[in-house]
């Protein structure tokens, strides 16, 4: 983000020097802009000092176009009141506002006259999430194959940035290997030899370290029955109609297993099934079959493998197929792992969703085969390549088919052609080409309808366009504003848009990192996998509700509701919530509502064993206010007083001492108060009134004098006095994610236009999304310089 570079040193003597006076610009009468810069800004930003690399000497305010990059920075600093800094002479509010308004109008007018829509990467590789979703949508195969690819690098806070997503032989290796597996599963390969796939329950992080932690006997997964405790649930794609053996090994890791594994052989239809292992609670006689819930991951949950004296149940798609009795001594040891072995005695390829999707025709005899293959491959490659296909596209695929058909049957031929599609550059890369030089009358062009279809689908679904979008694009109807709006609404209502929650919100709010946090079991004995999962689920459901109900993004901060299950409600100290299912709960406590009261966020912004006022404050500045503080200088002087002297200082006192150092104060005087307001939440988001023995003081005061108290007070300030910064930050994140590139100064007029458009509706999320979609940078593209 280009506005990040704010300079630390701001003290200087007053020097008045030449700022070229501007004539009234672009139909707007310029207020005393040049004079104002001269009076208040040149003191630090002159040619000699160039504080923060900025000088206003010689700046020609009548030439907005050439100075837009600098002036956008000026605008942001002036509008947010960051410049001139507190403590320096400042123009009065009216003059500042007049200058800001003039500058904004001028920059917007300049952009309207000479738009620069920017240039997302011409060749943009699909990331892991997009790859997985594309496989799901093109081939009907929901197995999250992206998890077998290396983690993508990210930039600007997101992993869908075209310029950052690179290609290497290691990655191509994986594409070939994963593509081969996908093709085999999608078509079904009867020559598949039996193998064993082993699933291990995820270890409870607190186990073994803090033995005093009581095991919670609770229902662990949507895929397991309500009356069970612990267990293991795996969603697995069975490649063929065949027999399979479920092999359950008992014991504890690193301890010798003396027992023979439990084995059960059963016939299963090809396709996805949920295999569950549960330990029934003896007290409950009622059997409730939990329906298998379709999930994106092959490995849905990994839960506590508790021992039980009632034996162990093996369930397939929620139905009990076998009960293994306990040992003679009445106990059964915990599950070490579960293997799925097979296929044995394959009976056929089966009738899977992917086969239904692929085989749109069935040749009755050999003479019909080529035509049918052609039809199948044309359809698949159109969806995979996300554009109309030509004979030149289908011919090489047909060659793969034909070569394989000589060795195997029709289906095998199709399998091999699919394998080729999956490494085709047309599939792996989104391509946006410049118009030919001869056709370029303007440096900018409107992207084609087909390109628009992909921009939309990767933005809202992290996946390929569906047939509806492609059809409309091929008929050049998608860019029609009316149709575009209908389609965006349809897309947001489609379940595929949950990818937007996972990928956009998951990265913006950094909730993805919840998967890897490791709270210290000694300090937070209560933290376990179930809580981790519940935290994440709360924020997902909450963000999704803002989207689905088209609420204001300000509700992200101030909502009076959330989604809880019993585990999380207990964590928050909210009574009366029973059971493992999440439900919407209206909150009476004004502190808990909104993102800043959610355990997910409070946990990912904390070190493993405590809270960090600084880390939370910085998170708010980075992600909610778009004003990231510069990182601390290395070799920060130690807080001597915390260790010296007779009595230990409180955290607040220590940080106050830290702020006595002007070099530290610049940033900490903004960060710390924000973080302190959240001190009532411990490192995993529980409410507390004391930190150790000291009372929590959750009051804060920002450098501009704004005061607040506790989470509720902070939220109010963010949603009112800092509303514009917050909305602007959300919009910038949306634009970055939607375009797959960093937001540049020339995007700021478009960003402001999006905000203005949504202002009337109190910044509803869908309105902001729609604003991004109809914006210049999303609809247009700049060509490379000739």
């Amino acid at each position: 983000m280009f506005l990040r570079h704010s300079g630390p040193g701001l003290l200087a003597a007053l020097i008045v020097s030449g700022v070229v006076l501007a004539p009234p610009g672009l139909g707007q009468t310029q207020p005393d802009g040049s004079l104002l810069l001269k009076q208040y800004c040149v003191v630090c930003h002159d040619n000699a000092k160039r504080t923060a690399g900025v000088t206003f000497q010689g700046l020609d305010l009548s030439n907005i176009g050439d100075n837009a990059e600098l002036l956008e920075r000026v605008l942001r600093k002036v509008k947010t009141g960051q410049m001139p800094p507190a403590g320096m002479p400042r123009p009065d509010a009216a003059r500042r506002a007049a200058f800001g308004n003039w500058l904004e109008t001028s920059l917007d007018a300049q952009a309207a006259a000479h738009p620069n829509p920017g240039r997302p990467a011409a060749v943009h590789r699909l990331n892991r999430a997009e790859y997985s979703n594309a496989i799901r949508d093109v081939f009907g195969l929901d197995i999250n194959p992206g998890s077998q690819l290396p983690v993508d690098d990210s930039g600007y806070g997101f992993d869908n940035i075209g310029d950052v997503l690179s290609m290497s032989s290691a990655l191509l290796d994986r594409y070939m290997s994963v593509g081969r597996k996908i093709a085999r599963l999608a078509v079904g390969d009867p020559t598949l030899k039996p193998g064993e796939e082993i699933f291990e329950p995820r270890r409870e992080p607190n186990r073994g370290v803090a033995p005093a932690v009581p095991a919670r006997a609770e229902w662990m997964s949507d895929d397991l029955p309500f009356d069970s405790a612990g267990g293991l649930s795996v969603r697995y794609y069975f490649p063929l109609d065949a027999e399979y053996v479920i092999r359950i090994r008992l014991g504890v890791a690193n301890a010798p297993v003396k027992l023979a594994p439990h084995e059960f052989r059963l016939p299963l239809k090809a396709g996805p099934h949920t295999i569950g292992l549960t330990f029934p609670k003896e007290s409950l006689k009622l059997e409730l079959a939990a329906p298998a819930v379709a999930r994106r991951s092959a490995f849905v949950s990994s839960v506590r493998p508790e021992a039980s004296s009632a034996g162990m149940d093996l369930r397939v798609d929620g139905v009990r197929v076998k009960r293994f009795p306990p040992d003679a001594d009445g106990a059964s040891p915990p599950v070490l792992n579960m293997g799925i072995v097979g296929p044995y005695n394959p009976a056929g390829r089966g009738d899977t969703p992917s086969r239904q999707k692929i085989f749109v025709c069935h040749p009755a005899n050999r003479s019909e085969e080529t035509k049918c293959a052609q039809k199948i491959l044309a359809g698949l490659s159109r969806r995979a390549y996300r554009r109309p296909v030509t004979d030149a596209d289908v011919r090489p695929l047909l060659a793969f088919y034909q070569k394989a058909r000589e060795k195997g049957d029709f289906d095998y031929g199709i399998e091999k052609a699919i394998q080729a599609i999956l490494v085709a550059p047309d599939f792996l890369f989104r391509v946006e080409a410049d118009p030919p030089a001869s056709a370029r009358h303007n440096p900018n062009h409107r992207i084609s309808d087909v390109e628009l279809a992909s921009r939309l689908s990767f933005f809202l679904w992290s996946s390929v366009p569906d047939d509806t979008l492609l059809d409309l694009a091929e008929q050049s109807k998608l860019s029609d504003p009316q149709i575009l709006k209908q389609q965006v609404e349809r897309m947001l209502d489609d379940p595929r848009s949950s990818a937007f929650v996972d990928n956009f919100a998951g990265q913006w709010l950094q909730i993805r990192n919840l998967a890897t946090v490791r709270p210290d079991p000694v300090v937070f004995a209560d933290f376990d996998e179930s809580l981790r999962w519940s935290m994440q689920r709360e924020t997902e459901l909450f963000f999704e509700s803002i989207l689905r109900e088209n609420r204001s993004v300000l509700d992200l901060l101030t909502a009076d509701y959330t989604f809880l299950n019993e585990r999380l409600a207990n964590h928050y100290g909210i009574p009366g919530i029973y059971g493992s299912q999440f439900r919407r709960v209206v909150l009476k406590d004004p502190d808990r509502g909104g993102l800043l009261g959610q355990a997910s966020l409070l946990t990912v912004t904390s070190p493993p064993n405590r809270t960090s006022v600084v880390q939370r404050g910085k998170w708010i500045l980075d992600n909610l206010l778009g004003a990231p503080p510069p990182p601390p200088p290395p070799d920060v002087p130690p807080l001597d007083a915390t260790t010296k002297g007779a009595q230990k200082l409180t955290l607040r006192e220590a940080l106050e001492l830290h702020r006595a150092n002007p070099g530290c104060a610049v940033c900490h005087k903004t960060m710390d108060p924000l973080g302190f307001a959240l001190e009532n939440y411990n490192g995993i988001g529980e409410w507390r009134t004391k930190d150790g023995s000291s009372e929590i003081d959750a009051s804060g005061k920002l450098p501009d004098g704004t005061q607040f108290e506790g989470p509720a007070g902070l939220k109010k300030v963010l949603a009112t006095e800092r509303r514009d910064e917050f909305v602007s930050t959300v919009t910038e994140k949306l634009l970055t994610y939607g375009l797959g590139r960093g937001v540049e100064y020339y995007d700021m007029p478009a960003l402001r236009a999006i905000m203005h458009q949504a202002e009337g509706s109190q910044y509803r999320l869908k309105d902001l999304i729609m604003g991004v979609i109809v914006s210049t940078p999303f609809q247009m593209r700049r060509s490379a310089d000739l």
């Binding site: 310029d163 598949l192 391509v431 990265q507 064993n609």
Partner: protein, 451 residues
Amino acid sequence: MMITQKHLHRRTFLRGLGTTLALPFLDAMVPAFAAPRLGAAKPAVRLGFLYVPNGIISAGWMPKGEGAGFEFNSTMKALEPFRENMLVLSGLAQIQGRSYGDGAGDHARAGASWLTGVHPKKTEGADLRAGISADQVAARAFGKETQFASLELGVEAPSLAGGCDSGYSCAYTNTISWRNPTSPNPIEVNPRVLFERLFGDGDSTDAKSRLAQMQEQSSILDFVKGGVDRLETKLGSGDRRKLTEYLDAIRDIERRIHKAEEQSASMHMPVMDRPASAPEEFAAHAQLMMDLMVIAYQSDLTRVITMMLAREGSNRSYREIGVADGHHNCTHHQNDPEKIAKTAKINTHHVEQLAYLVNKMKNTADGDGTLLDHSMLLYGSSLSDGNKHTHVDLPVALVGGGGGALRGGRHIRYPENTPLNNLLVSMLDKSGVPTEKLGDSTGEIEHLSDI
């Protein structure tokens, strides 16, 4: 490749020309029968570059005394049994990691400069730039001999969300290996995936089915090339970079397939079970990756490996050794003795993993000696003091015999600010890849083989 009985030592060749210009690597200079199991010729030198992030507490690392009489300090205790197989090198610096006006971001710069000696460009994405790294210089040369020119491995997956370091793309902290100045090599952290890369993912790991699979891949690669060619015609020259990367990747795999076919008769795949997923615990994960490293070296699948025990700037906690705080948090200890002790504990734990690898290599026969005899493993960090982000007096250990080129058992102190890249150039030279200059190198480093 033509195998000739006679090969030119490259050094000789250069001297003969009376010039020090770097020359393209010629087939004639490749040691004939370089692969260890092909004959009685001298086994090839294997290179390893093992990285630890956030610096190392000097008080625990720095040996007492210099020369042959040095004493290990606490952090390196686990290496005591291999004292004669290793050198501790002090005084080296990687000053390209300094800010030079770029402000904060020492971790990103440290990671990106460690093996390149180039000051990386500060950017979030669009225009990444560092320099080719030493491992990749070697990979270009050795790649002619082995199926994998190099492997880039790690134990910690890249961060899933959020920035990495102050306006620098995460690529700078996620890897230490740069194929060229604009292409960082991603690291592989999943032992299962690594296993499949090395040995194929067919139903059987035998050489025949692996070969059949590779032939199938060949025809797919031909098809992909056709697709890339068609795409290229649609794009302007500036937009073809990604496609060039793709073509490079294709060529690399084609070369490997060719190599595998060539070597299929002589290749014996060591026996190892296909690992499940990555173990959660750090040491178990690191050691599994190291087991695979040893196999890859041993079977001459590759001679060049980089291994990041954690990514630069890592804030991983090591609860299993009693450090629940994040590593990065600990290193900014502000002289708090408790945090210093925790950092040192992590440093020690990392070195213990190195010792595991070294021990394994010492117990693996290779030609006329052990794998360790024929290896050069560089271990260290691109920061010394993680609290102050200093880029000088780096912790550096050089382990292995280097095929006779290294004489261990010493602690050598070099003049202050000696470029780390001088050591990298020397390592390349001693492994048969003479390199005139790499990054900010000013020459070679002395005393590595002193008697």
